[in-house]
Symmetry: C2
Subunit: 205 residues, 2 copies
DNA sequence: GTAAAACTTGCAGATCGTGCAAACTTGCGA
DNA sequence: TCGCAAGTTTGCACGATCTGCAAGTTTTAC
């Protein structure tokens, strides 16, 4: 065997297994409907025991639902270290950060679409997805708070994070229904619409 | 017995039972932690059988989590029937509608606080609450779409609903932590902050 | 090459949630 | 007042989710 290149063999194997379970869960749920599929079936399809399934996901819902991937530490550090600025500037910076992250670690479009569609029919899946978004939003709020000075649950950081992630979600949702390669233009468009909405001069476009 | 005043005796009884179960669930969850409490305990505390519990709530989560109350038909009709207007005006109208609704059917503050606090420690409760908010948001988006012409999932209606409900949620969250009687000023303040955030001249206050 | 650490698995068991059918309650007209 | 129709509660049986524990297996580190 060669030396572990950048990451332990164990860690890599773990990520692969997790992804295999996720894909199996997603595929089976689309084929048969979320509640006709048992953990036993998913585990079998992924080649692990049911007990192992629960080592990777706390619930069946979580195996299907998708959340945003973690922000890389470098981007986070760079953002937090930037000069102080008024909230609207920070919001603009944040939007750029999220778009960069999205461009660097783009989710798989069809997979995302599948999750969105499943979550429309199955409240459990929707709930699991929303909970992950909420957790991500709280992380982002914390990041903003570090830049502005304050706590993640303060009004301004919380609202900045909420606005930014509303645009991201909306953009991803639209993108999933297209054939486009990149989600970025869709997210940027949502952000612009949001600006326009809260601006007096706006009328339809 | 007097004649049923406005509502059937049966329907009233049903609402009462549902509320008793909810309150029992909330109280027990706060006392012992959400996952130390069983459906059996909740049912016993509410004076019904476990089987009846599931006639009122589909899951244990749902018995604890709170969502926004339905919009009354009259407010909805009034809003939908109003003259066409540009999206930013519709957003302002919508904000007024939600505030009116809130003033007329104010939630119980301490109860709301209890749910918020529980949802911080228990992802299941958070997920159930978010799912209800999402359903409400979709209703609101549909309402906006009827006013603007279009579908609830179109970009502009979806974003208008998202922005308005972000302000409502944030305002309710802040209000729950105060001793104030009315949530309305808190929601209005969140809405103003949101406007300011997306406006170039804004800097800290 | 060996021992610690991490991972997988089976098993037992508590709890959740559902379908069904038998009681029971309420509303309402004869 | 009586009794029927519709709605409600309940018990029972059952499948599925999820957890703790301990034994076996693989990877890593020295």
């Amino acid at each position: 065997m060669s030396a572990p290149s950048g990451e332990s063999l164990r860690g890599r194997r773990r990520r692969e297994t997790k992804r295999e379970i996720h894909l199996a869960a997603l595929r089976l749920a689309r084929e048969h409907g979320f509640d006709k599929v048992t953990v036993e079936m998913i585990s079998a399809a992924a080649g692990v025991s049911p007990r192992t399934f629960f080592n990777y996901f706390p619930t069946k819902d979580a195996a299907v639902a998708q959340g945003p991937p973690d922000l890389p530490d470098e981007l986070v550090a760079e953002f937090a270290a930037a000069a102080a600025a008024p909230p609207n500037v920070v919001l603009a910076d944040l939007a750029r950060l999220l778009v960069r992250h999205l461009a660097e670690a783009p989710p798989h479009r069809e997979e995302l679409l599948a999750v969105f569609e499943l979550s429309r029919e199955h409240p459990q899946v929707l709930a699991a997805m929303l909970a992950r978004f909420e957790a991500f939003q709280l992380e982002v709020a914390d990041l903003v708070a570090r830049r502005l000075g304050g706590q993640a649950r303060d009004e301004v950081p919380a609202l900045i994070a909420a606005v930014a992630l509303t645009a991201v979600r909306q953009g991803m949702d639209r993108w999933a229904r297209t054939e486009d390669d990149s989600p970025v233009p869709h997210v940027e468009r949502s952000m612009e619409l949001l600006h326009a909405l809260l601006t007096p001069e706006f009328s339809h476009d």
